[in-house]
Symmetry: C2
Subunit: 358 residues, 2 copies
C-alpha cells in the first residue's frame, strides 16, 4: 500500500493506493468520517463494486445515486440528479459524498458536493486507471456545457482519495489504454525518467502487471500532488497538466463526447501539441518520434477526426485556457518539460490544424 499526501495549504488529504482497499474496514473507517453517506456511482460500476463498498461501511446511513455511464452525461442536468438524491435522503451539512467510479462520476460527484449546502465533504474512490492517475486528485470538479468541456465547476478538494488497484481487473482494455494517455502525459511534461520507464514497460502495463501498474499510478499521483500543491487554482504551473487537452477538448466537443474516451482524445491532442512543438523548433525530430511511438505503443488511436481546421480552432477558443482571446497552449520544449504560452507563430498552429483537422 502506498500513501501520498496532497497539501494545498487550506486542505491536506491522503491518497491511498493498493489492492483490496474496498474491503479494508479499518482504512475506510479512518478516511470516511461521518454517519450519513451518499454513494454516487454509475450503471457500469454499481453492479461490480457497490455491494463490496456497502458491506465494508458498516454502521452508517448510506444512500445511493446511480448515474448513466459516459462523458455525454457529464452535464448540469446529471448533477441536478445528485442534488435531488441528497435532498431526498435528507442529507445535511455533515453528509459525505463518495464518488465510486471513473473520471465522470468523480467530476460530477465532486461538483455536487462542492455546491450542496454550499459544500459538504467528499471522498474519491476511483475505479478506472484514468481516474486513479489523474482526475481523482487535485480537486478539479465540474460538468460540461454544450459550448465546451468543464465550463461549469469548482476547485474543491476531496477529504481523501482511495484508489483500489484491484478494480482495474474489470476495466475494459480500451479504458486501460485511455488511462495510459495521462500517464504518458506526466512523462512528457514533467518526468523524463517516467517517460523512459514507460518506453520499457508499456507492454507490462497493458498486460496489467500489478507491480508495473502500482509504479505508474504512484508516480503519476506523486507528480499530480506536487503540481497541485504549488498551484491549486491553475494560475501558472498546473496548466502544464493540460498538455494535449486544448486540442483534445476540441476533438471531444466536435464529436459530442461520443466517439472518443477522454484519454483517447487527450492522446490525439498530445500528438498535435507535440507536432506543433516540433514545428516551432522547440523539440527535435527524435523527441517527436519518441512521443508518437509511445502513444502508439499504448494502443491509443492515432487518427485525428477531420473536424475541419476552422471548426477545430473555434472550439479551442472556448477552452478555459483562452485568456483575452489568445489560445494559450501547452508545448514541450524538451522531453519531460513543458511551457505554457500564448506567443507562438500562428502559421505553425495553422499547419498543425491543417495537418490533423482538415
Amino acid at each position: 500500500m502506498q500513501i501520498l499526501q496532497v497539501d494545498v495549504g487550506h486542505s491536506r488529504y491522503p491518497i491511498t493506493i493498493g489492492p483490496a482497499l474496498l474491503g479494508d474496514r479499518e482504512l475506510l473507517d479512518s478516511q470516511i468520517g461521518g454517519h450519513d453517506l451518499l454513494v454516487v456511482t454509475n450503471t457500469t460500476v454499481a453492479p461490480l463494486y457497490l455491494a463490496t463498498l456497502r458491506a465494508t461501511l458498516t454502521g452508517r446511513r448510506i444512500a445511493e445515486c446511480v448515474l448513466p455511464d459516459g462523458e455525454q452525461h457529464k452535464t448540469l442536468q446529471t448533477a441536478a440528479r445528485v442534488f435531488d438524491a441528497l435532498v431526498e435522503a435528507r442529507m445535511n451539512r455533515d453528509a459525505t459524498v463518495l464518488a465510486l467510479g471513473g473520471g465522470v462520476v468523480g467530476d460530477i460527484a465532486g461538483f455536487a458536493a462542492a455546491c450542496y449546502q454550499r459544500g459538504v465533504g467528499y471522498v474519491q474512490i476511483p475505479t478506472t486507471l484514468l481516474a486513479q492517475v489523474d482526475s481523482s486528485v487535485g480537486g478539479k470538479t465540474g460538468v460540461n456545457h454544450p459550448g465546451g468541456k468543464n465550463l461549469i465547476g469548482a476547485f474543491y478538494q476531496p477529504l481523501a482519495v482511495i484508489a483500489d488497484t484491484d478494480t482495474l481487473a474489470t476495466l475494459p482494455d480500451r479504458e486501460l489504454r485511455a488511462g495510459l494517455a495521462e500517464v504518458i502525459k506526466y512523462g512528457c511534461v514533467w518526468d523524463p525518467e517516467l517517460f523512459e520507464w514507460l518506453e520499457l514497460n508499456l507492454s507490462k502495463l497493458r498486460r496489467r502487471d500489478p507491480a508495473a501498474l502500482a509504479h505508474a499510478i504512484g508516480r503519476s499521483c506523486a507528480i499530480k500532488a506536487a503540481v497541485v500543491a504549488s498551484d491549486e487554482k491553475e494560475l501558472n504551473v498546473r496548466a502544464i497538466l493540460n498538455f494535449g487537452h486544448t486540442f483534445g477538448h476540441a476533438i471531444e466537443s466536435a464529436t459530442h463526447y461520443e466517439t472518443f474516451l477522454h484519454g483517447e482524445a487527450v492522446g490525439l491532442g498530445m500528438l498535435m501539441a507535440t507536432d506543433l512543438s516540433h514545428r516551432l523548433g522547440l523539440i527535435d525530430a527524435t523527441t517527436l518520434e519518441r512521443v508518437q511511438n509511445l502513444l502508439k505503443l499504448a494502443g491509443l488511436p492515432t487518427e485525428v477526426p477531420r473536424i475541419g481546421a476552422a471548426r477545430g480552432f473555434e472550439l479551442m477558443q472556448m477552452d478555459k485556457k483562452v485568456l483575452a482571446g489568445t489560445v494559450r497552449l501547452v508545448l514541450l520544449d524538451k522531453l519531460g518539460h513543458a511551457v505554457v504560452t500564448g506567443t507562438y507563430a500562428q502559421s505553425a498552429l495553422d499547419a498543425t490544424l491543417s495537418e490533423y483537422f482538415a
Copy 2:
C-alpha cells in the same frame, strides 16, 4: 459616501455606499476590473438602471442576461441561463459578472460566477434595501431546490459591493419594508443601540429619509462585515445572522416562494423565534413586545400562514442549519444578543409551532 472593508483572509473587498454611484465613472473603473463584463439583472431592474450602468462603463465589452423577477425563479435552471449567456458571449476566465438587482439576482449571479470556468470575478450592485443591507455582502451565493432554500450554492466573495442608495427611490414600499426586516435582525442579534435607534427612526426610514437610510445601511453592512470576517463559512458565529430564517424558510417553502418576499418571511420567522426565546425563559415579556412592536412599526406582515405545525417542522428540518437531525435555532437571550442552539425543550418549540402554524 461611506466605504467599508470586508476582510475574510483570502479575500478583501470594499463596500461603497452612497448616492449616484451608478453614474460615477471613476468609482466603477476603479472597482470593476477587466474588459469583458456580463451584467446579470432582471426584467424589473433592467429598464430602470441598465442604461445608466452601461453608459458609465465605457470602453468595455458588455453582454447582458436579463432574468425573470422573483424568488420562485431562483433555481438551478435560471442559473443555467447565466451559464448560457456567458458561453454565448464567449466569456473566458478573465470575465467579470456584475449582479445588478436585488437578493435573487445577486445570489444567482454570484453562484454562476463561482462555477463558470471554476470561478470568475463578480461585483455586487444591489438595488434593493434587502440586498444593500444583507445579501450582497458576505459571499453567500446559491439557488433554491424544491426541497429547500439555498440548498445549492457556494461561499464565494465578490470583488466589490457598490450600493447606490439612489436606486432605493424606485423600490416599491413593500420591498422597502421587507428590507427593514433584515435591519431589525441586526439590532436583535448584535446591536442594541441599532435596535433603539430603529425604535426612534423607523418612520423616517419608511419615508425614505436619505440620512436615516444611509445610517441603517452603513451600520448593517458594518455588522455583516464584522461577522463574516470572523466566520466566513458559518461554522459558528455567522449562524446568528440566520435569526428568523429557519422558521422563515419553512414559510417560504410552504408557500412556494410566491406569497411572501424573503424579508417578510424572515420578519414572520423572527416573530416565532422571539416567541420561542420567551417561552424558553431566555428573554422577558418586555423584550418580546419590543421586537413585536418594531416589526409592526416596520409595516411587516404579522399573520403567519397556517401551514400546519407538523409540515412546518418538517420543512424546518430541511434547513441547512439542521445538524445530524437536530434543528438548530437562533434564539435571543437578550436584546441585541443571540445564541445558536440545538438544545432546547421540544415542548416549547411545539408550543410556538402550534401557536403560529396550526
